[in-house]
């Protein structure tokens, strides 16, 4: 194919990516946007086989590797539980970053002494950022999958280790630029992998999605840099798009969670060993039976349901809808108060409740629902914890301090459905559990809800 035609079709794929991001930003066009992105990616992948500079080597290897990737990726994406989606996204992002780093390394081996200074710098950038993105994403995956603690991991002197690693990364970068060998590049990759781990470890659970989004933007930039090295305009465009939109998205997410982006990023350098978290106390709480809960609900005029991560774990979205329908039928005003970061990914609760066909009008965003709590008789909190934890307002220095919360304490009665006294994702105690107007109903959210529903029917 003539280089001009090749580039022109590549540009078309780039336009698909732009339209894809544009589509994904509006609810009505989101799905089409995603399909357009896939179309662009498909065009780009087929196109590369017609590149005029191709040497036609290793064709079987290439096709085999693609097939293997499809065989791994599609089922993983198809079968994953909704609750586990965030970590899958993190993982996909990580492998993307890893791929970019590998591409840069191979191309560097190939170019050897012929690499221009700009190319070497782009390579160093890709290797560092790609590796950080890879190992950092793995850590976020482990945190989200709860294969390791979700609380910030801070060890004494940690910030010096991190600073030293960073200095090492920069030093070795200089070495690569000066000496131009494969060995320093591999050392650089190794150090960057370590840095990625150290960078993400001290990030508190609540900030994990922000970090994923940031690493996503980073990976975009490595793709752009690879595009420069490989002289592939499409990669420059696509990578820059993702880098820029990812940066904005990270900022928007941080805003939605009331976090400072700077604080999150440099948590590594500022975090102090944890204070007063997860201190299992033995104070009295008021626990109730499903009948108690049913009675409270039955005589309410307005009920706000606050769903959280536990609802997703228990897959209780259909049961909660049944309860809400029952209450509505009794003339009770029912609304869902959706916190932007309830669950484990932004919009998690909307997705789950949409799946259960909850009418859209009943879903209220935090800003809408907060002013109505004083007129609310019962706040029914199902598997949520951090998003209603008053510590976010009252305890400076706790990991969620500054995050806007749902003001359920203003409601007449507060009911928690959870399995135990264990804290939520951020690992901090919730004072509201001990409040006089709080009733706890222990047990799996779905089982508890089922019991409440039948109790309510028998009233």
């Amino acid at each position: 194919m003539s280089p001009f035609l090749y580039d022109l079709i590549g540009l078309l794929a780039g336009v698909c990516f732009i339209l894809s991001l544009k589509g994904l930003s509006h609810p009505r066009t989101a799905r089409r946007g995603n399909l357009l992105g896939a179309l662009g990616a498909g065009i780009a992948t087929i196109l590369v086989f017609f590149r005029s500079e191709n040497e036609g080597r290793n064709l079987l290897w290439i096709i085999g590797a693609i097939a293997l990737g499809v065989v791994i990726g599609v089922p993983a994406a198809r079968k994953v539980q909704m609750t586990a989606m965030p970590q899958l996204v993190a993982l996909f992002n990580g492998v993307g970053g890893g791929a970019a780093a590998l591409v840069a390394i191979v191309e560097y081996m190939k170019l050897g002494e012929n690499a221009s200074l700009a190319v070497v710098i782009a390579t160093v950038f890709t290797v560092i950022v790609g590796c950080v993105s890879f190992s950092g994403s793995i850590i976020t995956f482990l945190k989200l999958q709860e294969l390791m603690t979700t609380a910030p991991v801070v060890f004494p002197g940690g910030r010096f280790v991190i600073a030293a690693t960073l200095a090492g990364v920069l030093g070795v970068s200089g070495w690569v630029v000066a000496a131009l060998g494969t060995t320093p590049l591999l050392v650089l990759a190794l150090l960057s992998l370590i840095f990625g781990v150290l960078f993400v470890l001290p990030v508190g659970g609540a900030d994990v999605p922000i970090v994923i989004s940031l690493l996503n933007a980073f990976t975009g930039l490595t793709v752009a840099a690879s595009g420069y090295v490989l002289q592939a305009t499409l990669l420059i465009i696509a990578g820059t798009l993702v880098g820029a939109s990812g940066t904005i998205l990270t900022r928007l997410m941080a805003e939605a969670m009331g976090r400072s982006l700077f604080g999150t990023l440099f948590g590594a350098f500022t975090a102090k060993p944890q204070i007063g978290s997860a201190a299992a106390e033995n104070r009295p709480v008021k626990s109730g039976t499903p009948d108690d809960v049913a009675i409270l609900l039955n005589y309410a005029r307005r009920v706000v349901i606050v769903p959280g991560f536990g609802l997703a774990v228990a897959q209780a979205q259909h049961t909660v809808r049944e309860l809400a329908d029952l209450l509505s039928a009794k003339g009770i005003d029912v609304a869902y108060g959706i916190h932007p970061v309830a669950g484990r990914m932004p919009g998690h609760m909307n997705v789950l409740l949409a799946e259960a066909n909850v009418p859209y009008e009943q879903l209220s965003e935090m800003e809408e629902v907060n002013p109505t709590f004083p007129q609310t008789d019962v706040a029914l909190i199902i598997g949520a914890n951090d998003v209603v934890n008053p510590a976010a307002k009252t305890t400076p220095g706790c990991p969620i301090y500054g995050m806007p919360i749902l003001d359920v304490a203003q409601a007449g009665n507060v009911i928690f459905l959870k399995r135990s006294m264990r804290p939520g994702f951020a690992g901090i105690e919730n004072e509201l559990l001990f409040d006089a107007k709080t009733t706890l109903l222990f047990g799996d959210a779905k089982a508890s809800l089922t019991k409440v529903v039948s109790a309510l029917k028998n009233l």
Partner: protein
């Protein structure tokens, strides 16, 4: 391509990226992140290019690994994004044919 052309493209693409997503509602943050994530899977193109001119087994091995990783990123990313968005679509319709797949 000339350096200035590349820089111009880079700068313009930054503006496009910024503008295009700057009004997204928080409900769509995750699908958007996931979709953008899938888009950078296009590094697959780069992986194929380096695999195509790999000569030593080391080069080939690394680039085949890159292809696998990039394909997982790209294909998996679009599929998982589609699954997330599928959840939203029922809102307007009656949606009786949904709510399968993840229990």
């Amino acid at each position: 391509m000339e350096a200035i052309a590349i820089i111009s493209i880079f700068v313009l693409a930054i503006f496009v990226g910024f503008e295009v997503v700057s009004k997204v509602s928080s409900t769509l943050h995750t699908p958007l992140m996931s979709g953008a994530n899938a888009i950078h899977g296009v590094i697959l193109v780069g992986a194929i290019i380096v695999a195509d001119h790999s000569e030593t087994p080391l080069e080939l091995g690394l680039s085949v690994a890159a292809i696998i990783l990039a394909t997982v990123n790209m294909v998996g990313g679009f599929v998982v994004t589609d699954r997330m968005l599928e959840m939203f679509k029922g809102k307007s319709k009656d949606g009786s044919t949904k709510s399968k797949g993840d229990k």
